[in-house]
């Protein structure tokens, strides 16, 4: 009887990549009309499982059943035919195209013996679908012109247009605001009510508790457990996901506040499109504290970091470090004035991946007299320096001559932190410092940040993960459309309130405006 309800079953699936077993004989069952969460850390193998189901990878072993029939899914086309659709984490949308063009791409309605695309019919169809599922998407809009939340709905429409009954959502909330998230959850419920079944890939426990009916936990390529959500707890799930007991709280003593060190006053900065990305931002950072900047991605965080480090021109306002104006100075001058940055994207901004660890360790200091002898670099000195940092910060690398590319993500991040902390800055900016890392590395990095704060440094933490902000910060400033719209203490708030502030629905009493 239960079998009849099962729409997808993966049996003993094994998928290997050179060097690793991404899926080790995993089993998975999706029942009709349920939302089934697939939980695991980055790299645990949950995406691989779903890529196998969607036909993007071919498994070495195992069987897949859809609606009770054994099937071979040799490509996305086959998956689509079987009624499986995937809402990708990184949207697969062609930006210069319209919503409708993106949706029909690959299965276009045709006229004139197939010689032309029947655009009229396409727009109609897309409009109807959008209406039917309450998605509210403008079929004529170009992808460039619509919000991220809307783009996600286009992705959902793409699967529905192809007649999908089984929808895979890959980390769908990563890019959304808390309010967009609740809208998405409504949409997902709506889909299930209309007979669809949903697989939700995620590493966020909260979402699972909020929406999922059952959950399958994956760790290091293996399925650890599969159970109904009712009757489980976040702590229990976290333990299964990580494989040991984890404390969701970080031990840290109270902050000992020192004098103000970084003062940002009425900062105005232009963004990429020439509009004001920062619109009169104000905040003060003191020695001995961690100030968390909370906010939805794209509200000026990147521009703030770039302005603070001299990578983006300041249109108006001032940035003072120890009372000295640094707005308009060059990145190197600012670095020398005492600001260090752990950048958001370690591959793109933090490291030269094809250079050895040795060179990466002096990326910002190579020109100083210690390493630079009359225009020639002293590589002996540089090597000694790199060896010391590698040792002090426990960067696991075969040698300092190994290319940075060959290091694991966690060790790459450790290398960056070693370099930045060793500059002995007054202000350490950490942007998304733990993105994509496993729990062990996250713990290590969090400890290092707290350690810096305990030593009397000022730490500015910019993160899109509310949990990280709540855990680490001594004070939280919420950024919305380029302004700090409120400041709160982590002990006196919760993510619901922060979420509302992040979308400017609610200002707390005693925010900066009333100061």
């Amino acid at each position: 009887m239960e079998q009849a309800n099962t729409v997808v079953e993966m049996r003993n699936i094994t998928k290997r990549f050179p060097g690793i077993v991404a899926n080790d004989s995993v089993n998975f069952k999706l029942r009709k009309g349920e939302i089934h969460a697939l939980l695991g850390e980055n790299g645990a193998g949950k995406s691989t499982m779903m890529n196998v189901l969607f036909g993007l990878y071919q498994p070495e072993e195992g069987e897949i059943f859809v609606n009770g029939q054994q099937v071979v899914i040799d490509g996305p086309n086959k998956a689509i035919k079987l009624g499986i659709g995937m809402v990708h984490q990184h949207f697969k949308l062609v930006h210069p195209f319209t919503v409708t063009e993106n949706i029909i791409l690959g299965s276009e309605p045709k006229k004139w013996l197939g010689l032309a695309v029947d655009k009229k019919m396409a727009y109609e169809k897309v409009g109807n679908l959008s209406h039917q599922y309450g998605l509210n998407v403008d079929p004529y809009a170009k992808i460039d012109e619509i919000s991220v939340g809307m783009q996600q709905r286009v992705e959902i429409l793409k699967t529905l247009y192809r007649g999908a009954d089984i929808l895979i959502f890959d980390e769908p909330t990563a890019v959304l605001t808390p309010q967009e998230i609740s809208e998405l959850l409504v949409i997902m419920r709506n889909l299930v009510n209309q007979g669809k079944s949903i697989i939700l890939i995620t590493h966020k426990l909260k979402e699972i508790m909020a929406i999922a009916d059952s959950v399958t936990i994956v760790r290091r390529g293996k399925v650890i457990d599969s159970l109904p959500v009712a009757g489980t707890s976040p702590n229990q799930l976290a333990e299964k996901m990580v494989g040991r007991e984890v404390s969701l709280k970080l031990d840290k003593k109270d902050a000992v506040l020192g004098e103000p060190i970084l003062e940002v006053d009425n900062l105005v900065v232009k963004g990429r499109q020439g509009l004001n990305a920062l619109n009169g931002t104000n905040f003060t950072l003191r020695r001995g504290e961690i100030l968390g900047i909370a906010g939805v991605e794209g509200n000026g965080q990147s521009e703030l970091i770039e302005a603070l480090t001299g990578l983006r021109p300041v249109a108006d306002g001032s940035i003072k470090i120890s009372g000295e104006e640094i707005a308009g100075k060059k990145p190197r001058q600012i670095s020398e004035a005492g600001i260090s940055l752990i950048p958001e994207d370690r591959h793109k901004h933090g490291l030269v991946l094809d250079f050895p660890v040795r060179e990466n360790m002096v990326l910002e200091t190579y020109y100083q007299p210690q390493f630079n002898k009359k225009g020639f670099l002293d590589f002996n000195e540089i090597a000694t320096h790199a060896e010391r940092l590698v040792k002090d910060f426990d960067v696991r690398t075969p040698s300092i001559m190994t290319d940075a590319r060959a290091l694991s993500g966690g060790n790459q991040q450790k290398a960056i932190i070693a370099r930045e902390v060793d500059k002995n800055p007054d202000v350490l900016i950490a942007a998304q410092p733990t993105r994509g890392l496993d729990v062990g590395a996250i713990e290590f990095i969090h400890k290092r940040l707290v350690e810096q704060r305990n030593m009397g440094k000022a730490v500015l933490l910019v993160s899109y993960e509310l949990e990280e902000i709540l855990q680490l910060s001594d004070r939280i400033a919420v950024i919305y459309e380029g302004r700090i719209v409120g400041e709160v203490k982590p002990s006196e708030t919760n993510d619901q309130e922060l979420g509302l502030m992040m979308t400017d629905y609610k200002r707390p009493q005693g925010g900066p405006e009333s100061e």
Binding site: P331, L351, L353, D354, F355, L377
Partner: protein, 358 residues
């Protein structure tokens, strides 16, 4: 044997060597199809190059410009730039040297160095234009350098035609002897082959290339820019000025190729209908040499030898010398797509294993 195959399939260090062999084989096959004797052809190529002093000297003279342009392209590559414009920078280098060589009259110890410097600067500026457009406007240097090649060709023709033309000759006046870079005694020793200082200059540039990029602070900055421009910016390196600087140096290296063709080989500049191809050869040389100084040197020696020796093939084996263009093209093709070599080797080794099994 298996180890050897694994070395090819895993490590790309041997790819250029296999590519050369494959390129020569492609040439041989095409000669066979055309009814020529490839063994005889390749032998006459070598006999030409190493047969007598004159031809050996001329081979060295043929290697020199592509060593310069090869270094030029490789230098830009190291800074993350694809300089297709060595051809145009070469022409501008020629033009600069010709203008100084023809229009001013100075003692040799000033005249020749001045012509060299001005020519190098002209080439450098021509490269810098593309660098500037990339830095200031974000314009892809591949397209601009292609366009600048053609602009240089016509601009040089205009300058020669308008200001430097020796009436009725289709070329500029001869440059003054005081601007010549010819080495008289060496030319006489080489049976009147056109020997000049450019070759030694080019070797110095090989050393400069290594020392600058891998030993100096500025070279380090350029390599960081080349490998990851974003990280360079975050590290406080001025990426834009790096790009402009690198294109200037790259252009100057290509310009020197043109300088010495004028001052050491032709002693004048002709009104050209099309490109010489030295700039494009430079791309081939840089790719084959893996953008390393030693690799570029070896690549230039190989392609210079093949190009000069090609003429001998048509005397010795009656093979059209254009076959060498096909050989060089094939070599680059295999270097650029190492996947093909791996694929071929897999086929070969796979088949063998099957045969063994039988």
């Amino acid at each position: 044997m298996n180890k050897l195959i694994r070395a090819f399939t895993k490590d790309s260090a041997l790819v250029p060597l296999v590519a050369i062999v494959l390129g020569l084989i492609v040439g041989a096959i095409i000669m066979l199809i055309g009814g020529y004797d490839p063994i005889l052809a390749y032998r006459s190529l070598l006999e030409t190059v190493f047969g007598n002093r004159y031809d050996f000297g001329e081979t060295l003279t043929a290697i020199t410009p592509i060593l310069f342009t090869g270094l030029s392209v490789a230098f830009a590559f190291r800074t993350g730039l694809f300089n297709i414009g060595a051809e145009g920078q070469y022409i501008m280098g020629m033009t600069g040297a010709t203008i100084i060589g023809v229009t001013v009259h100075l003692p040799w110890y000033i005249h020749a160095p001045l012509a060299v410097v001005v020519g190098a600067i002209c080439g450098g500026i021509w490269g810098m234009i593309a660098g500037y457009l990339k830095a200031a406007r974000g314009v892809n240097e591949v397209i601009t350098t292609i366009m600048l090649n053609w602009i240089a060709l016509h601009l040089a023709n205009y300058l020669v035609n308008r200001f430097l033309l020796e009436p009725g000759k289709g070329r500029s006046y001869m440059v003054d002897d005081s601007a010549s870079a010819t080495i008289g005694w060496l030319s006489r020793f080489m049976d009147d082959a056109r020997m000049h200082w450019g070759m030694f200059f080019a070797l110095l540039c090989v050393i400069f290339f290594y020392a600058f990029l891998w030993r100096t602070k500025q070279g380090f900055e350029l390599r960081v820019v080349g490998s990851n421009a974003d990280a360079a910016a975050y590290a406080g390196i001025n990426v834009n000025s790096g790009v402009v600087k690198a294109m200037f140096i790259s252009g100057a290296l290509a310009g020197l190729a043109g300088v010495f063709q004028v001052l050491g080989v032709f002693h004048n500049q002709v009104i050209a209908a099309s490109h010489t191809g030295h700039g494009f050869d430079g791309i081939a040389v840089a790719l084959l040499g893996g953008n390393t100084p030693l690799g570029v040197l070896l690549g230039a020696i190989l392609f210079g030898t093949l190009s000069y020796g090609a003429a001998g093939m048509s005397f010795g084996a009656d093979v059209p010398p254009e076959i060498i263009r096909i050989v060089i093209g094939s070599v680059i093709f295999f270097v650029a797509a190492p996947g093909i070599i791996r694929w071929l080797l897999k086929r070969v080794s796979g088949k063998k294993r099957k045969e063994e099994a039988i």
